[in-house]
């Protein structure tokens, strides 16, 4: 009568699995695909790294824009013409600049971008080291002895010891709340 949780969950799990296993949306049309699977797989890899200039946060491999299709075809033509991967990318960047590369090259303009993670980690470690070192190593400056005035105040405030001024302000220690 009562279906088990697993049975009820099964369709949901199957649907989720199907959605996860679904190949992410690619825009490559059947007529674009090269006969040579090795070349086609290189074309796919290259296309995935080239920005579609119409919908700028998609690669040309994902974009349905007509310019993206043109560029996919150009990538395949260049591969058929015998270009190596670098030459194909150069062909596109000659026309559209480094901006078409979804992974920008390291050069004088981008070293800070690429170096930022390492620089920030180094800086963080430096700050941590400087802050934590004294406490960890126990090299905190030794407490200064109390001056005569401080000694007098302490005696006034602390009950029991010395007892010279027992009449002054209420006790700090020994209140009701502090005594379980």
């Amino acid at each position: 009568m009562i279906r088990s949780a697993a049975t009820r969950l099964l369709p949901v799990l199957l649907l989720a699995a199907a959605l996860l296993a679904w190949p992410s949306a690619h825009a490559v049309q059947p007529d674009e695909i090269l006969d040579d699977p090795a070349l086609e797989s290189r074309a796919r890899d290259l296309s995935a790294g080239l920005r579609c200039l119409v919908c700028q946060n998609q690669s040309i491999d994902d974009s349905n824009a007509s310019l993206a299709r043109d560029l996919r075809l150009i990538v395949r033509q260049r591969l058929l013409a015998g270009d190596d991967d670098a030459a194909v990318l150069r062909y596109v960047t000659d026309r559209y600049g480094d901006y078409v590369l979804l992974k920008p090259p390291v050069d004088s303009r981008t070293w800070l971008l690429w170096g930022a993670p390492a620089i920030l980690v180094a800086l963080g470690l430096l700050i941590m080291w400087t802050w934590l070192r004294p406490a960890a190593a126990g090299t905190e400056a030794a407490p200064q002895p109390l001056s005569a005035e401080e000694r007098r105040r302490a005696r006034r405030l602390l009950p029991g010891k010395g007892g010279a001024d027992r009449t002054s302000p209420p006790h700090i220690a020994g209140g009701k709340e502090n005594n379980p």
């Binding site: 200039l53 007509s66 043109d70 560029l71 150009i74 026309r95 559209y96 600049g97 700050i127």
Partner: protein, 183 residues
């Protein structure tokens, strides 16, 4: 004391990063990408004539005098918006060439018949390959090419009065002076 100085490092870092972002958000215009062909000779291309009574366009034609190249298409609404300005430029005596990009020639001819045809030459680039040689990524785009056939300016998007006043007309005047002073 040492801690006091170190303590403001996170604040300084934050300010640096925030400043960087602010610059990136305000100065960078995603509709106005860098033109890779800027200050380079017009790349090789040849396109057939769009209209029977008007020559087609090849890179060799874009030489000899400072001139404009306007990339347009009949399916492009901003092209329609900038068309009166292009017409005015042509009427003022500036050579304006047209590249009809990724368009149906019949539709393009009808478009020109309706709005008027200001172009000296019009290349029909139905496949879009000539545009890709130039680095066109949308229409309209307008290029200023000097007498030596070098691309000196590219504007992506519809031209407006201020682009003419602040950029294109002063540049053309400068290029004409350059050409005139050359032996």
């Amino acid at each position: 004391m040492k801690r006091g100085i170190l303590g403001i490092i996170p604040l300084l870092l934050f300010m640096a990063v925030a400043g960087y972002f602010a610059l990136g958000l305000t100065r960078y215009d995603p509709d106005q990408l860098d033109a890779a062909r800027l200050n380079q000779p017009v790349p090789d291309f040849t396109t057939p004539a769009l209209k029977a009574d008007r020559p087609g366009l090849a890179s060799a034609d874009l030489k000899g005098e400072p001139q404009l190249l306007n990339v347009f298409a009949s399916w492009c609404v901003p092209c329609r918006a900038e068309h009166p300005l292009i017409t005015r430029l042509a009427e003022s005596g500036i050579t304006v060439n047209g590249l009809n990009w990724k368009d149906d020639p019949v539709a393009a001819r009808a478009w020109l018949a309706e709005l008027g045809d200001p172009y000296t030459r019009i290349g029909a680039d139905a496949s879009g390959r000539a545009g890709i040689e130039l680095g066109v990524y949308g229409v309209p785009e307008t290029y200023v090419i000097d007498a030596g056939g070098v691309i000196r300016f590219r504007h992506a998007g519809p031209l407006q009065e201020r682009h003419l006043r602040d950029e294109i007309l002063p540049l053309l005047a400068r290029l004409r002076a350059e050409t005139a002073s050359r032996p």
